[in-house]
């Protein structure tokens, strides 16, 4: 695959899917800045692995897996960083999201432990099976069932409380 072919197919895929994956990342992180950082990182990884991933027709799954695992890793890794960047972002970036601007659902999702949150989103939003979700999260199917049932229970409870309030 020539670089031109590689980039043409890559750009076509990214252009058509990027906003969808920005939403997935936002649902995972609850923050548009973190979501866009996550998507940017995932897209660079996808570029590196593009020939293999594209050949296997696994572009969406690959990108989704990176987003999900990276969001969980980020929440687990106890890094606290004051980071200055060397480059100024191009173009108008997303606006900061205040807590007040977030929907009750996004708030409720953020109250879940990261693996529960990811399990709920994969199973009940992105429509993955239990087995697919288990593979995506790198856990066994029993853990997925446990996470989704607890996650949904907490989600419903929080939403009911939010509605009542």
């Amino acid at each position: 695959m020539s670089q031109a072919d590689r980039e043409a197919s890559y750009v076509e895929f990214v252009a058509s899917r990027r906003d969808r994956f920005r939403r997935v990342a936002y649902a995972l992180t609850g923050d548009w800045h973190r979501a866009d950082d996550l998507v940017q990182t995932a897209l660079v990884k996808l570029y590196v692995a593009w020939p293999r991933v594209h050949r296997n027709g696994a572009e969406e799954a690959y990108l989704r897996t990176i987003l999900v695992r990276a969001s969980i890793d980020e929440s687990r890794r106890p890094w606290r960083r004051e980071r200055a960047t060397d480059t100024v972002p191009e173009g108008p970036g997303p606006q900061p999201t205040s807590v007040e601007d977030r929907s009750a659902l996004v708030d409720a999702l953020q109250s879940l432990p990261p693996q529960q949150r990811a399990a709920v989103l994969l199973r009940h939003w992105l429509d993955l099976s239990v087995a697919e979700t288990a593979k995506e999260l790198g856990v066994n199917e029993g853990t997925v069932k446990s996470h989704t049932s607890r996650g949904l229970a907490a989600l419903r409870e929080v939403l009911v409380i939010a509605d009542a309030g």
Partner: protein, 399 residues
């Protein structure tokens, strides 16, 4: 559940603003690819030789077996039995198809995707590594750690594939799979002057200690700055004395500022004074003390199942059958550090099976955490998966 999907979809808003320019993504992608593909001649060959100190290399091109490349070892390095055939590996990519093949009787207990995908060291038998996996496997008695990889000799012809493996015997140089894999990959990707480290110019692991990025030097180092196994480091770029980075390391947490002096902190010492207490054990709590939000802990402390022998193995107590055990299971350091004695076992007592996770830490009595086998998964590997999740999430692990 269909309406649930619709509810969730309705609750996740459309992205604000527009996406950053795709050119920026492409530029970063090309840079990452270039970084991984750097043809580095002698420097890379030397690095690879250094890497094989405790590892064996095997290549399998086109479905047949080839002679292993130079397995020269550095004097004084621990040695391992060299692999002469890729079939010595408990798993490998089938060369023609790129499919992963796991040898009969072996089971993958840990798997890391794409650790070296995209790189092209000159000693590798393919132009670019198209696929790779880090694997820890067991056949119930022996264990093996691997980096397996596959690539096509001709980019547009997958049938020209060639596969290979880096094999590491557990326990020779490293106690934990993750430590070995991190260091092995870092060294494989290490190019003098290259930017493969990302923005960080220093890293710290229990095995490798403090390692600085090529071209950077330690300007100041303060050991045990916030208790045992903590470290404060000021590193400076050799060719630019104004470029500093500050790090606070503990075994479980890193705090850094990549463009020092950081705003509000005129000196390294002032930055340390504010941030060091945030390290776990540093008096400020740290990030790993919060609750995980999941209060269902299946473990219970039991002192009637097993006990550590003086040699560090688990021995069954009266009335207990020890069915299987592993020493030093690969678990997060919130359970046991690299120098601590730890083990996991499957035991049976009074007709009931239990998994027991045991640790003997330097400053406290040995602890034996038992989980009913029915709740811990069917195998030790599955139980360890559960334990890894629990100890990675914090909040008390299994208890």
């Amino acid at each position: 559940m269909h309406d649930l999907a619709e509810q969730i979809d309705a609750g996740i808003p459309a992205p604000p603003g527009r996406s950053a320019d795709l050119d920026g993504v492409l530029r970063d992608g090309r840079r990452a690819l270039r970084r991984r593909r750097l043809a580095v001649g002698g420097g890379a060959a030397l690095a690879v030789v250094a890497v094989v100190g405790g590892s064996a290399w095997a290549f399998g091109p086109g479905g047949s077996t080839a002679t292993a490349p130079d397995d020269t070892r550095l004097a004084g390095e621990p040695s391992a039995e060299p692999a002469t055939d890729i079939t010595d590996a408990a798993a490998h990519y089938e060369a023609r198809t790129g499919e992963l093949v796991v040898a009969e009787g072996w089971e993958i207990v840990e798997r890391v995707e794409d650790p070296i995908t995209g790189i092209a060291p000159t000693d590798f038998p393919m132009p670019v590594v198209d696929d790779s996996l880090g694997l820890a496997l067991t056949d119930g008695s022996a264990e093996q750690w691997l980096i397996v990889y596959w690539g096509a000799r001709q980019a547009d012809d997958p049938s020209s594939g060639v596969s290979g493996a880096v094999i590491e015997p557990p326990g020779v140089r490293f106690d934990r799979f993750g430590h070995w894999l991190d260091l092995e990959v870092a060294r494989l990707l290490s190019v003098p002057g290259g930017d493969i480290w990302g923005p960080d110019a220093a890293m710290y692991t229990p095995d490798a200690g403090l390692v600085t990025k090529p071209g950077w030097e330690v300007a100041e180092r303060i050991d045990d700055v916030a208790g045992k196994d903590t470290l404060a480091v000021d590193v400076v770029r050799a060719d630019d004395p104004d470029r500093h980075q500050w790090f606070l390391f503990s075994l479980r947490m890193t705090i850094s500022t990549l463009h020092a002096p950081a705003p509000g902190y005129p000196t390294f010492q002032s930055w340390i004074e504010v941030n060091a207490p945030l390290l776990p054990g540093g008096g400020g709590g740290g990030a790993d003390t919060g609750p995980s939000g999941d209060g269902d802990w299946p473990g219970v402390e039991r002192d009637d199942l097993v006990a550590f022998s003086p040699g560090g193995a688990l021995e069954p107590l009266p009335g207990v059958s020890l069915l299987e055990q592993r020493s030093s299971p690969d678990l997060p350091e919130s359970f046991a550090g690299p120098d601590d004695v730890s083990a996991v076992a499957l035991v049976e007592k009074d007709g009931e099976r239990w998994f027991v996770l045991a640790r003997d830490l330097a400053d406290s009595p040995a602890q034996y955490i038992a989980v009913p086998a029915a709740e811990g998964g069917g195998t030790i590997a599955e139980f360890l998966e559960l334990a890894r999740e629990r100890y990675a999430e914090g909040g008390g692990g299994l208890l």
